[in-house]
Amino acid sequence: MLLHWNGLGWWRWCLVATTAAVACFLLLPIVFIAALSFGSSQWLIFPPPDWTLRWYQELLADPRWLESAWTSLKIALVVSALSVFVGTIAAFGLVRGAFPARNALKAFFLTPMILPVVVLAVALYAFFLRIGLDGTITGFVVAHLVVALPYSILAIGGALEGFDKSIEDAAILCGAAPLEAALRVTVPAIANGLFSAAVFSFLASWDEVVVAIFMASPTLQTLPVKIWATLRQDLTPVVAAASTILIVFTLALMLVVALVRKVAKST
């Protein structure tokens, strides 16, 4: 009865109250920042004395903010594409393979995800300093690829495991060479896994802060790095404006993903 509303009695209200409180707790800071970005107070006093678009104007007028956003976008797109490509190949190898070290290899591929990212950031920083890749786009892409790849392999590997290999065998017997069969039949069938991998990889790079701080240079900053650097100095509402844009971006992405899932389910 603990898992049915009726059996809970007055506990029901405690649970609902707690959940409502937590939901508000989770939601309010986000709403709050969005609201404050339109407030005129420089010190982010709430309620703000007046409403204004000034912070957005400052944000969009500063070329470095726009540049950092553009850098973030470029890097995230490249990382997403590479992550899906390398991840797909690796996932095929892991799922279809029967070599002895398979489970160990699987665990190895997941390690960047479980180890503290600050260690990876510092280690790569040292390495890139030595080989001259620090402060370069290539370095950024490689570093973010290491972060994003485990998600790709998980998502694509999961979709591949759920795919019946006999379908690919049937395609081979129909006359398609193994590679052709994989590309024409298996890959479209696991498209949802590829999509998940692409979105996760994109977000992993787009939102990534710690590694980015070490990969950045004064002339090469991603958006999170710009925000971080600004925050180290003061709490200017321009950051609130940038934050609100990011929140809207997140919402839009969640909607797109939900829509794609719905469309995929109905076909």
Binding site: D164, S166, I167, D169, A170, A171, I172, L173, C174, G175, A176, A177, P178, E180, A181, R184, V185, P188, A189, A191, T267
Partner: protein, 357 residues
């Protein structure tokens, strides 16, 4: 006449486990050959070797005299229908059937014409634009069949394609398969563990047991003259009565069953030892209330009488302790008034019995 499909000395090892152990078989063109056997008997492994999806450890596979062993599976031009529905989920029915032709780079008009023809053959005209998820299991297997036949392969392999369907649907599609076989004349290799299905569909049946073929023959041949105990047990019902072989010559043995001597029983196998079992089909045993004086007969006690419509099963127990089931047609004169505990006499024609060693 050159044999059409030959399996020669096929052997498949998995480490120390032998799945297929020296299988030899010749299949004629246009034949419907069934591989029948329990799971693990090697029938599917043999089929997959012919498809090219599995590589045998040893042996050869030949179509019209030419070995296909080194040909990769996508070039063997063999059709296959699997047990699990293997339609391409993202393509429509028509696109599924067109796939093998697309891969062979045929002209679009040729593809369209063939696809339409195939969908007609499997009686799914009008389903061209549906997706596999919208089809029932039976319909999906029919599309799979159309897809496997659209490029007119010389050989069609079927790996227990109806196992996932319910009984009524199974019978429907069995009928369809038989009809398509007659209309197209394609050579079919069919794998199943269901002996009734095998008997219904096949021209010949190869009975697999533990990696070897125990016997190949038509249904009647396997039923009336099983070569091994396994075949006798697997196809149809059989009774086994403990007996001893007292003498044998030229394939015929004299056995002693519960004190009664029965000469002229066909003998199979050359294992040693004289203690073995006598095999009889339940409907080949005669049942009499009084002891017949012209043939050898065994006394038995009636344990149970079961009415099953067209026939009656009479379960008896012999003095040797072994149970014997007798099948009599409904209305048989000896059944009326028969009751449990009664003693009757069982007799049979030795030529209808078998002894395996």
């Amino acid at each position: 006449m050159t044999p059409f499909l030959e399996i020669a000395g096929l052997r498949r090892e998995y480490g120390s486990f032998v799945a297929v152990n020296n299988v030899n078989l010749t299949i004629h063109k246009g034949e419907f050959m069934t591989f029948l056997g329990p799971s693990g008997s090697g029938k599917s492994t043999t089929l997959y070797a012919i498809a090219g999806l599995d590589t045998p450890t040893r042996g050869d596979l030949r179509i019209e005299g030419a070995s296909i062993l080194d040909t990769p599976p996508h070039l063997r031009n063999i059709g296959m229908v699997f047990q699990r529905y293997t339609l391409f989920p993202h393509l429509t029915v028509a696109q599924n059937v067109a796939f093998p032709l697309k891969v062979r780079r045929l002209a679009a008009s040729v593809i369209d014409e063939r696809v339409t023809r195939m969908l007609s053959l499997v009686r799914l005209d009008g389903f061209a634009h549906r997706k596999p998820a919208q089809l029932s299991g039976g319909q999906q297997q029919r599309v799979a069949l159309a897809r496997a036949l659209v490029y007119e392969p010389p050989v069609l392999l079927m790996d227990e394609p109806l196992a996932a369907l319910d009984k009524k649907l199974r019978e429907e599609i069995q009928f369809e398969i038989r009809r398509i076989h007659q209309e197209t004349g394609v050579t079919i290799l069919y794998v199943t563990h269901d002996q009734e299905e095998a008997l219904r569909l096949s021209d010949r049946i190869a009975v697999f047991s533990k990696g070897v073929i125990d016997q190949v023959g038509t249904g009647p041949e396997l039923y009336a003259s099983p070569a091994t105990r396994f075949v006798a047990e697997f196809i149809g019902d059989s009774d086994f009565i403990p007996c001893t072989v007292s003498a044998h010559k030229q394939g015929k043995a004299t056995v002693v069953v519960g004190g009664t001597v029965v000469p002229g029983v066909p003998l199979h196998g050359d294992g040693g030892g004289s203690a073995t079992e006598l095999m009889l089909r339940p409907e080949r045993i005669s049942l009499c209330r009084h002891k017949p004086d012209d043939v050898a007969a065994l006394p038995a006690t009636i344990a149970n009488i079961t009415f099953l419509g067209s026939h009656v099963n009479v379960a008896t127990v012999t003095s040797g302790g072994g149970p014997i089931g007798v099948r009599l047609p409904f209305g048989h004169q000896e059944i009326s008034g028969l009751s449990r505990g009664e003693i009757v006499w069982l007799s049979f024609d030795p030529a209808n019995a078998r002894v395996f060693r």
